[in-house]
């Protein structure tokens, strides 16, 4: 370790002390750490809710809760996982920490706005808690808040919607910050085709956040107005159109799945070359596929609505467009696998998570083809098949990428190394549990079991029992993973500046970095994934 003072020991602005040094900080790294703890808190809460849901479903009839509580449980599980975990997780934690360093900058372009984003995130979370205990009971609409149900239920929907609205603001401002930082804060020598792929993916994500979030914000406000004043936008009794709400909702909520997955793909694009000691295969293709996904992904929202009563022409167009999004995604997967060809591969926990990501995400993507096709969609729409599919993409995809990122950048963020063996055990448990948990849901969906079901017919009993067992194994694995990471902070096994042999700029600064990130001026490579120096060093030792 160098004798440089890390950002943990240097408040920014400099006059702040104690808790204020955190709560009023402008330092992107401190904000990332603050996001990390908040996000982890919500993640744990939502995991426990998910576990309770699956335990309830392990046998027919009420097991540990009634239908009302169950409906609230899956609503909260969805709202928390989406708005408080998976949307902010990678951009707000790793984006904040790593993006400025990868660009050779000392902070984001708007540090104060960054702090505001964090407060909005916390406020949104707080309101979500308050909404539980005010009004007629826990919110029970599902995370989609479909009208007219969300307008008629007497539970405290407006407050939950306000929480989602504020969280949307937070996400949007983070996106804005990243876009401007990429444009304005890059070191002079860094051209567009020298930007690391993680930062590229956040740049693409930033545009989606910035352009799509206002749609949901307005929609949520409209629902609140509808409830408060009965203006009749969505209420068929007053001449409104409930399907209009679905269009507006998915116009945001479909692009936002790319807000969840694109940064995850960015992490994989960093992890694979690093442990292969080899250039990423097709850098430019990956960059353009990120932008392609961001654009095409914004045009496919109505593929959530084939059965909603939209015209057959609309089904035709949206199904066709949906298939076009599959292409850039496939290109990425092929590029990652090709990177491994003739590489020099070192197995580590982040790489293991990345490889499992490729497998699970491929399953998620391929089952997406079943759902994108019009005829087959009709059968599996709103069934357990959908639940399995989006957990494969969002959890097996974005979630596992997040775990890969955690294990990849943890030594950089805290300057300590976790227990490698425990990390492998946790990864194995999570994966095995994952398969037993979600594969039965594919089968249940094909058999016709709808989603959001509190109870079910006898033919669905076996699958649900199996899924429950898988879920329990998975949660044990997740808790072990979190425990292992937290324990590393106590055991303090010091991590070097560049434990993995990475070549992007964050590996050229101390772990943890000093407050202005760079000790010596950053030097930019012509090609961002050039491993020749790392190899030279390895040959010498």
């Amino acid at each position: 370790m160098s004798d440089v003072k890390s950002f943990f020991d240097t408040p920014a602005p400099a006059h702040l002390t104690g808790i204020k040094a955190w709560l009023l900080t402008h330092d992107h790294k401190r904000l990332a750490i603050m996001y990390l703890w908040a996000v982890m808190f919500w993640f744990t809460v939502a995991i426990i809710l998910g576990l309770l849901i699956r335990i309830e479903l392990m046998s027919i009839g009420p097991t540990i809760m009634g239908a009302k509580l169950y409906n609230s449980a899956f609503t909260l599980h969805g709202v928390i996982m989406i708005f408080l975990f998976i949307i902010p997780a990678i951009p707000a934690i790793f984006g904040n920490f790593i993006l400025p360093i990868q660009l050779g900058a000392d902070d984001v372009f708007f540090p104060r706005l960054n702090l505001l984003s964090w407060y909005l995130y916390m406020l949104g979370g707080l309101l979500a808690i308050v909404s539980l205990f005010t009004g007629g009971g826990f919110p029970d609409t599902g995370w989609t808040f479909y009208v007219p149900f969300s307008v008629t239920t007497n539970h405290s929907v407006p407050l939950t919607l306000t929480a989602a609205f504020i969280l949307g603001m937070s996400s949007m401002l983070t996106g804005l910050n990243f876009i401007t930082t990429v444009h304005r804060m890059r070191v002079k020598e860094m051209g567009w085709m020298q930007i690391p792929l993680f930062t590229w993916s956040l740049y693409a994500t930033g545009w989606v956040q910035l352009l799509a979030t206002p749609v949901i914000s307005i929609t949520l406000l409209l629902v609140i107005f509808e409830r408060a004043f009965g203006i009749g936008l969505f209420d068929p009794d007053k001449g409104g159109d409930p399907v209009l709400y679905q269009h507006l909702f998915w116009m945001y909520s479909h692009p936002v799945v790319y807000v969840m997955i694109l940064p995850g793909m960015g992490i994989i694009s960093e992890v694979i070359p690093t442990f292969s000691r080899k250039a990423i295969f097709g850098y430019k293709a990956i960059v353009w596929s990120s932008m392609g996904i961001a654009v095409a992904g914004s045009l496919v929202w109505a593929h959530h609505m084939y059965t909603s009563g939209i015209s057959d022409t609309a089904v035709f167009i949206f199904s066709l467009l949906t298939y076009l999004v599959a292409i850039p995604t496939a290109i990425k997967v092929f590029s990652w696998v090709a990177t491994l060809y003739k590489a020099s591969i070192e197995m580590t926990p982040p790489l293991l998570y990345a490889l499992i990501f490729i497998y699970l995400f491929t399953v998620g993507g391929l089952t997406g083809l079943v759902i994108g096709a019009a005829g087959t969609n009709i059968h599996v729409h709103d069934t357990q098949f959908i639940v399995a599919h989006f957990h494969f993409t969002m959890f097996g995809g974005a979630g596992f990428a997040f775990f890969a990122g955690l294990h990849f950048w943890w030594p950089k963020m805290f300057g300590v190394m976790y227990n490698i063996k425990k990390a492998y055990i946790a990864a194995t448990l999570i994966t095995v549990g994952f398969m037993f948990h979600y594969v039965p849901m594919f089968v249940l969906g094909m058999m016709g079991m709808p989603r959001r079901y509190f109870d079910y017919l006898p033919q669905f009993a076996q699958g649900n029992a199996l899924a429950g067992i898988g879920g329990i194994i998975m949660v044990i694995g997740l808790l072990l993973m979190l425990y292992n990471l937290v324990m590393s902070l106590r055991e303090k096994v010091v991590a070097p500046e560049n434990p993995w042999g990475g070549v992007t700029l964050e590996w050229s600064v101390p772990s943890p970095p000093p407050v202005h990130n760079f000790v010596t001026a950053p030097s930019v490579k012509d090609y961002p994934y050039d491993f020749s120096e790392v190899l030279k060093k390895a040959a010498q030792s």
Binding site: S319, I327, I331, I378, P450
Partner: protein, 197 residues
């Protein structure tokens, strides 16, 4: 072609191609990780891309995707085309049951009876929130929306009892909003239709 068969054919096609791709990708990935592990291959080759290969793996998946789209779309049209001789039944969804109204104003709750080998068209609407009418056995599903009449059609080829579910979450007892579809011989259907409740 029987619409159910059309949908199943689309399922098999997409699942089959997907399975081949999944096995291929996974096998190649595992092979590379084992074959090029650092102890075996300490010095990597510097390969940064190959435009020919990249072009190939952009174009071939495009054709695969388009073929899947097409088979999916044609099976969808099979589900949507209503035969001319279809009998029509009005269906109303409400929290939390299904109501069926026949031509002669006969009304049933959670029990739909239709004659075998006769096309059926169900005209569906909701009385309150959104529901979704789903018969897994016939691969059909459509939302019931207040103020927006929708329809679905199917032709039962054999007698029997089939499950009907509500697939769109609609409140506390959503999962109990189920009904039975009974497919009976023609004569039995006529008799049943004239029965007083």
């Amino acid at each position: 072609m029987d619409p159910v068969l059309g949908v199943d054919r689309a399922f098999w096609y997409i699942f089959g191609v997907s399975l081949i791709l999944l096995i291929g990708i996974t096998a190649v990935m595992i092979y590379f990780v084992v074959r090029y592990r650092r102890s075996k291959n300490p010095v990597p080759s510097d390969i940064r891309g190959d435009w020919k290969l990249e072009l190939i793996w952009s174009i071939i998946p495009t054709f695969i995707a388009l073929s899947m789209f097409w088979i999916g779309w044609s099976s969808y049209t099979g589900l949507r085309n209503v035969p001319d001789d279809a009998i029509e039944v009005e269906v109303l969804g409400q929290m939390f049951s299904w109501i069926f109204i026949y031509d002669n104003d006969k009304e049933t709750e959670n029990e739909l009876v239709v004659p075998v080998n006769t096309p059926v068209k169900l005209n569906i609407e909701s009385l309150d929130v959104i529901h979704s009418f789903f018969i897994p056995a016939f691969r059909v599903k459509v939302d019931a929306v207040k103020g927006l009449p929708t329809y679905l059609t199917f032709t039962p080829k054999e007698e029997g009892e089939f499950d009907i579910f509500c697939a769109e979450y609609c409140g506390t007892d959503h999962s109990y909003m189920t009904a039975k579809l009974r497919v009976v011989p023609n004569e039995e259907y006529e008799e049943w239709l004239e029965e007083e409740e």
